[in-house]
Symmetry: C2
Subunit: 119 residues, 2 copies
């Protein structure tokens, strides 16, 4: 089938976004890993094995990320394609996601280094 329809899942408008709901969503390390993955592969899918959690756990994390406004999802066949809502997030909370992504990267570097650079 050439023109495959995608169904976007319901999500808050830019105005409805709640900063502290977003912060609560980002407080979980699994969800931060999902965010990092989506940011690196916009429009891509992700599987539960990527994050060491079950399928049902991944479903819940997706919902929390989606309802906070951090991501947009579309059903595409049997898969979900995911995007970070960068433009709307930048518009609503300027600089926030840039800081978040920087700190996610910083933390993974620290992990790779075994924190040896900190002494």
């Amino acid at each position: 089938m050439a023109s495959r329809l995608t169904r976007p899942l319901s999500l808050p408008s830019k105005e409805e976004m709640d900063l502290f709901q977003i912060m609560a969503a980002l407080a979980d390390p699994v969800r931060r890993a999902i965010i990092a993955h989506i940011a690196a592969t916009p429009g891509g899918a992700c599987s539960s094995s990527d994050f060491g959690v079950s399928k049902s756990a991944l479903t819940r994390h997706w919902r929390i990320l989606r309802e906070s406004g951090l991501i947009r999802q579309e059903v595409d066949g049997t898969r979900h394609r995911n995007w970070l809502r960068s433009d709307e997030l930048d518009d609503r909370f300027p600089g926030l996601m840039s800081t978040v992504q920087q700190e996610i990267a910083r933390k993974s570097n620290v992990d790779l280094d075994g924190e040896t650079n900190e002494h």
Copy 2:
């Protein structure tokens, strides 16, 4: 006694601050109320009755705020004086606290309005 000594409680350095620990601290509405109070009265004390929680609950919230790096506390007699670590926070996470304070204010306005402006 004219020169009363104050004892600062231990707190993370600017470099040790963890963005996501800060976000977890800000995810709680009681702690946001404490932050708003401290921001409005720097160096002041706060009592548990201000926030509708017990003394022991307030102690725990203080510790979480202090260990995340959001506030500085000094023991002054029988009281604790509190400050937001604005300069260090601005330096480490530019723009973050400005956004946070704006959203705290926005939420309390919405509460006062009974959200009547949203329809």
